[in-house]
């Protein structure tokens, strides 16, 4: 292969990846439209758009369907972006925002708010559950980071502290559930299933803001993270401060994932599947991989949101259940298909 054909070959690769990213973006837009067009009331999008004068339809469109559909896209993108960065920095393709016990901490925070009627001063009561979930999630990951830093911040150390955090948070959650009333336990269980029905424009704005702040910071480190895929030794030899990079990324990822799960509850599958789907279609050059993961996460979450409203007519299933039941077989099929091809 001559230098010219090599350059042309690589340009074709780049072009192919940009086309794939464009296709993913288009698919997200279509999935979003489908999500908005679907609802338990059975009212079609065309009717909603034509009946702007009807306050009831306007409420359905502007206060229910649009915020939920937007939240699905944002949460999917945030969780998948967080998962992609974690998988790279922890050098572990099974890593996701759950690895550090973040979701378990968020659940504990939500449970405390529900069972003990805790609220943060200055915040409306309605916000107490997501606010405490967020604080607990952030606190847990900061604790993991501090402990990991004290031990040298190796990938294995971070994962070990994360696993320890998962068990501690679960034990505390069981303790809270043990002393809770039956009603409160039911609320906690529903929260852990993950649901988009709690969405509102304020919450959408907050998640969107965190995502908008995180994505550019992630993209600034694409070369360092791509280098890290060659192994820590090699990354260090190129002047990458691996431990520092890992801690910076983990803090950013924690913010992203905490913002997402505190508003919609536990949605575990997206942080794992988004990165894997992106890896399948655009590889691991992080210039394409990170946006690809965010788009793949947004797409899967958006489709899951639509499915959650369509599987049982007139009923909205918790989206966390749908992502697992529908998404995992699809994901396995994709992975096995790729293995057969290679």
């Amino acid at each position: 292969m001559t230098a010219q054909t090599l350059a042309a070959g690589y340009r074709r690769f780049i072009l192919g990846r940009m086309v794939i990213l464009g296709g993913l973006g288009l698919a997200v837009v279509l999935a979003f439209a489908l999500d908005v067009a679907t609802g338990p009331s059975g009212i079609r999008l065309a009717e909603l758009l034509k009946s702007a004068d009807d306050p009831a339809l306007a409420v359905i469109l502007w206060d229910i369907r649009l915020p939920q559909a937007t939240m699905a896209v944002l949460v999917g993108a945030a969780l998948a972006l967080a998962g992609a960065e974690m998988q790279t920095t922890l050098n572990n393709s099974l890593a996701s925002p759950f690895t550090l016990g973040l979701t378990n901490a968020a659940t504990l925070g939500a449970a405390c708010a529900i069972v003990f009627d805790l609220a943060l001063p200055g915040l409306p009561v309605l916000w107490s559950v997501p606010a405490l979930a967020f604080c607990f999630a952030l606190g847990a990951t900061l604790l993991v980071n501090v402990l990991a830093r004290s031990q040298g911040a190796g990938a294995d150390t971070v994962v070990l502290f994360g696993i320890a955090m998962v068990f501690v948070m679960n034990a505390l959650l069981w303790l809270v559930q043990y002393v809770a009333s039956a009603d409160a336990v039911q609320q906690i269980v529903f929260w852990t299933m993950g649901s988009l029905t709690r969405s509102s424009w304020e919450k959408v704005a907050l998640v969107g803001l965190v995502l908008a702040l995180s994505l550019p910071l992630s993209l600034r480190q694409v070369w360092a993270m791509t280098t890290l895929r060659g192994g820590e030794d090699h990354a260090r030899s190129f002047g990458i401060g691996v431990e520092r990079l890992r801690l910076v990324v983990l803090v950013r990822v924690s913010l992203l994932a905490a913002a997402a799960v505190s508003f919609v509850g536990t949605i575990g599958f997206i942080g794992l599947v988004g990165p894997h789907l992106a890896r399948l279609v655009v590889g691991e050059d992080h210039r394409f991989y990170l946006p690809g993961a965010a788009l793949a996460g947004a797409l899967v979450m958006s489709l899951a949101s639509t499915a959650s409203k369509s599987l049982v007519p007139g009923l909205v299933l918790p989206v966390g259940i749908v992502t697992a039941l529908v998404g995992i077989p699809l994901f396995m099929a994709l992975l096995l298909g790729q293995r057969r091809r290679s």
Binding site: M1, T2, A3, L6, A7, G9, Y10, F13, N91, W223, A224, T226, T227, R229, G230, G231, D233, H234, A235, R236, S237, F238, G239, I240, R279, G283, E284, D285, S342
Partner: protein, 264 residues
């Protein structure tokens, strides 16, 4: 631009590995073979020079002490190839080299970076691998990509830790010929940790044989390699003969009784 290694000491915790290592000046264009038994400190010396291990003493390159220089300065001057192979990942080989170049030279223009990458794949004879995923390459092929990641940056000091360990005979020769060519062209210096003494004797202008935390012998291969040194450094009974092309050829006859201080 010479390299001076002066009383270099490196320890892992309380265990000293190098204690006052000093070498004669190493000059531009030189390939320097680092020899020595397992645990003699070859990799340790390279890692310390690359700034990956704390060290004392001085390593003066072009008037600057590498041990006290800023990370950015060292990165411009020094290229280090670790002993471990680049990980098998879904990255294309081309992207691995591109990322290494971008991580160290973010200021480089796209066209310049592309030309440099194409050039190094061509020179190393691995252009066929460029658009394949690292996970699809053999260990030896990944080692070649790792070498490309270092050579593409054209550093003044090349630190190569066993760059031929996963390669067959043809590629071992190709690698050392390439490194020699680049060192000669750029006026650089290459320090190469290597276990194959005969390969080192064939290509290196100078050998540094390490043992007991210091330099046991140094100089051109024909001078440095002696039966006594083989016994002292490696614990073997061996001969040093001249091959038909005039290079020294080491023939290992048998392992000598290993003294307690040389056990692994």
């Amino acid at each position: 631009m010479s390299l001076y290694l002066d009383r270099i000491g490196v320890a892992y915790g309380r265990r000293p590995v190098l204690t006052g290592l000093t070498a004669a000046a190493l000059h531009p264009g030189m390939l320097v073979g680092l020899l020595g038994a397992n645990g003699a400190g070859k990799s340790t010396l390279l890692r310390a020079l690359a700034g990956l291990l704390p060290a004392h003493g001085r390593a003066i390159l072009d008037g600057t002490d590498l041990f006290t220089a800023s990370g950015a300065h060292r990165l411009r001057q020094v290229g280090y190839l670790p002993q471990t192979l680049p990980q098998a990942s879904p990255l294309l080989a081309y992207e691995s080299v591109l990322a290494a170049l971008r991580a160290t030279r973010p200021d480089l223009r796209d066209a310049t970076a592309q030309a440099a990458i194409q050039g190094i794949f061509d020179r190393l004879g691995i252009a066929e691998l460029a658009l394949r995923r690292m996970g699809q390459l053999s260990g030896g092929q990944r080692q070649m990509v790792g070498l490309a990641q270092v050579l593409v940056r054209q550093p003044r000091l090349l630190l190569l830790d066993e760059p031929t360990s996963a390669l067959d005979l043809r590629w071992q020769l190709a690698v050392l010929e390439n490194v020699a060519g680049q060192v000669h062209r750029d006026g650089a210096i290459a320090l190469i940790a290597i276990h194959d003494i005969n390969l080192a004797a064939r290509f290196c202008h100078r050998l540094l044989v390490l043992g007991q935390g210091a330099v046991l012998a140094q100089g051109p291969p024909a001078q440095a390699l002696t039966p006594d040194l083989l016994n002292h450094a490696y614990g073997i009974d061996g001969r040093v003969e001249a091959c038909s092309q005039g290079f020294p050829l080491v023939l290992a006859d048998r392992a000598a009784t290993i003294s307690a201080d040389r056990r692994l």
